[in-house]
Structure formats: C-alpha cells, structure tokens
C-alpha cells in the first residue's frame, strides 16, 4: 500500500469533530432516555402488570430481533406515512432525521436496558423488598430509593458494554443521512480516496474513548465495592 498520508485528517478535523459531537450527543441522550424508559419497562415486567407486561415482553422481543439499521429505516419512512391522515393535503408529513435518530435510538436501547435491569432485579435478594414493605415504603418509593440504586450498581458493567455498543451503533444514522463520527470519516475518505487513513484514525478515537469509559467504570465499581461489601 502506498505510504499513508494523514494530512487529510487535519483538514477534515472540524467536520470530524462535528460528527463526533453528534455521536456523543446521541449516545448521551439515548443512554439517559433509554435507561429511564428501560427501567419503566423492566418494572412493568417485574411487577407483572396485567396485559402491559405481555406487551412489554412482545416489544422487547421484537426490537431485539430486528437489526437497528432496519428499525431506523422503518421509523424514518413509515412514521411520515402513518402521519398522513393528519396532514392537510393528504401527503406524508416528513419527520426530520435528527428527531428520528434520537427517538429511535432511545426506544431501541430501552429494550436492551430493560433486559439488563431485569437481570439486576433478579439478582437482588427478596429480603430487600420485604424490608422496604415492612418499613411501610410505597411500591414507588421502594423501587426509587431501595431497589433501583442497588440494581444500577450490580449491572453497571453490563450497562457500560451496552452503552459502548450504542456509541458504536450511532454510525447507522447514515440511513437517515445524518453524519456521525464514522459517517464523517467515510465521507471525507470517499471524496479523497483516503480510506485507510481515515478508518485508522476513527478506530483509534473509538478505542481511546471506549477504553477510558470502561476504565472509569471499573474504578468506580471498585470504589463502591470497597464501601458496600467489605466483609
């Protein structure tokens, strides 16, 4: 292969950073809303809410069975068509790519987070629920103050792995013609024929960010372990 030429990376830096910013925004947003929604879904299942619990199982199974890229695709193109009845002239109402990405990722990740939270819920001792009940805490307060904080600690490494995957999957927004870090790199690469250089740079950026995150979570956990489980 011809000698590598990384000068293109400097020229494209603003564009790449712009893409990285979008990746990070989408990751943070989808993490927060997905986790929130995922907790709700997991609780609906855990509390065996009639009818809703079955719907949630169906939803989670469906979402986990379809590639994210196809989920994005269907959201992007079907929602405008489904909204047609509400439009004045009987034509589909376009929904922007940005909102589609944020909503779809949140809904999609919620299914995965819900399963992770459920694993955590299963690992908790029944005594925790009983102690909370005996202290006359309401169901909501039991989960809010006693159960969920413990679950989050237990499953934090799995949450991290899922979030790393989420961060990597942001590249799929290319079907919506939105540009994230990978998308930006690919575009620059295609225009300039510098594929190898750009991909190497992106690989390093991902490796650096994700490794830092996983190191941080590992350290955080170690600290918690020290306070929570010394014996």
């Amino acid at each position: 292969m011809n000698s590598l030429d990384f000068s293109i990376v400097w020229q494209a830096l603003p564009y790449l950073l712009h893409g990285l910013a979008f990746s990070l925004q989408l990751t943070v947003f989808a993490f927060l809303t997905g986790l929130g929604l995922g907790i709700v879904l997991a609780l609906v299942r855990h509390l065996k809410v009639p009818v809703l619990a079955q719907l949630v199982v169906g939803y989670i199974t469906l979402i986990r069975s379809i590639p994210l890229i196809l989920v994005l695709f269907w959201f992007f193109f079907l929602v405008p068509i489904l909204l047609t009845p509400f439009s004045v002239d009987g034509r589909p109402i376009p929904v922007g790519a940005g909102p589609t990405a944020f909503v779809t990722f949140s809904l999609f990740e919620a299914a995965y987070y819900a399963e992770i939270i459920r694993t955590g819920l299963r690992s908790l001792n029944k005594g925790q629920f009983e102690a909370a009940a005996a202290l006359s805490l309401s169901t909501f307060k039991t989960y809010r103050y006693v159960i969920i904080p413990q679950v989050i600690r237990v499953v934090s490494p799995i949450l991290l792995t899922q979030t790393i995957i989420l961060f990597q999957d942001t590249s799929l927004v290319y079907v919506l013609s939105v540009v994230d870090l990978t998308g930006a790199a690919v575009k620059i690469a295609q225009l300039n024929g510098k594929l190898v250089e750009m991909y190497l740079v992106v690989a390093l950026v991902y490796l650096a960010i994700c490794s830092t995150a996983s190191q941080a979570v590992a350290m955080l956990r170690e600290r918690q372990m020290r306070t929570v489980r010394t014996r």
């Binding site: 199974t61 690992s123 001792n125 792995t161 990597q168 590249s171 992106v202 690989a203 994700c210």
Partner: protein, 255 residues
Amino acid sequence: MFSVLFEEAPDGQRYIDWLISGLQWTVTLAFFGWCIAFVIGVAVGAGRTSPSRAIAIPCRLYTEFFRNIPVLIQMFLWYFVVPEFLPFGLGDAIKQMPPPWGAFWPALVCLSLYTSARVSEQVRAGIEALPKGQREAANALSLSTWKTYRHVLIPQALRLIVPSLTSEVMGIYKNTSVALTIGLLELTAQARQISEATFQTFGAFASATLIYLALALVTFLIMTAVEYAVRIPGQEPVTGRKLPRKLALAQEPKP
C-alpha cells in the same frame, strides 16, 4: 409489497433467489462465527478471572481492543489493511482468493473476534458471580487450575449467563450484515441490491426484516430449549433465595 420477490431479475433468476442466497451466507457466517466466538470468548473470559496477572492482563486487553472498535471499522481493517502488513507472499495470496471467499474469511475472522470479546465479558461476569467457595473446594480437592475451570467453574458460569448469551446469539445475525461492507453479499446486501435494481425499497427491506425476525425467533426457541436442557435439578432458575432447604424439608419426613 412482496410481489417484487417473484419478478424476474436481470440475471434470469427471481429476486427471491437473491434473498435466499443472501440468507445462506448470513446463516453460514453467523453459525461458524458463533462457534469460534464462543470458544474464544469462554477462554478469554475465563482468563480474565485468572489469579495470574500474566494471563489476566492480556485477556483484558484483548476484550478491550476487540470490543471498543466498531465492528464496521474492524471489518475494513481486516479486509484492506491487514493483508498489506502480512509477509509478502501471504498477503498477496489472501488478496488473490476468489470471491466470495476473499470476503468470507476476513468477515468470519472479524465477526468471531468481535463477538468473542463480547462473550468473554459475559463469561467473566458469570465466573465472578460464582461463590468463592467453589474455587476453594476445587482447590481443596486437589483439582488443577485447568480442571477447576473445566469441570467446576465454567459449567456453572455458562448456565448462569444463558439469558445474556441468547441476546448475543440473536445479535450475531444482525452483525453479519456488516460483512456487506467488504463485498459479501449476505441478506442485507441482497436486499439493497434488489432495492437498487427495482427501486422497490420497501418491499426489499420488509422481506429482509421479516427474515431477520424469523431467524431471531428460531434462535430464541433453540436457546430456550438449551436453557431447559442444562438447568440444574433442584435449583431455582432465579438465584438469591434459599428455598432448597425448605423444599427438602417439605419432601422429607423426619425419622
């Protein structure tokens, strides 16, 4: 919407034949990819729990490396970059491989390693979740480290993580689609081809979606059967509660 599948394609076949050919590649890649990923994943995951740092640290680096780079980019690197750095003859030999094998092997390697990193993380969690006493009991019985893992720790850890492994198996089908970026015409690639040829994008992608759903469902059923087959008699699937004692008492009248 699906009528497009039965139209005749430029090459004389029907479009549905394209999809089936794509499905075959997807399944082949997923199956062999999973087998390799499982073996490596279990080995690396177990290695991460090793008391020896000389084993644990390389295993951790392995996991971090292959998990933290997007699979799309790994695929590209395996296909375009790695052969350039192989000793001269080997790299060229790889490049000369006739299609589709020239794309299949890198795709298989890439997918296996990527998935194995994710599996290893789960195996590690499974082993770490086992009570410390299991390892100690094995030591006290003079089982070697290898036999301790082989007969005591890994069998239990795997049973523990069946649910999350199920997600992983369901996930590998989806990740196979990344192989299209290096020219392997698997299911998604074929759907795109149909879409380009006919501009019937919805029909093509709807077919692919349904096939993925069916694959996931089959996987789910198989894994449920596996979970049932390897369950441990007398143990509740849910961990945490000390019911066994009571069960035993209920069954057993006192002398």
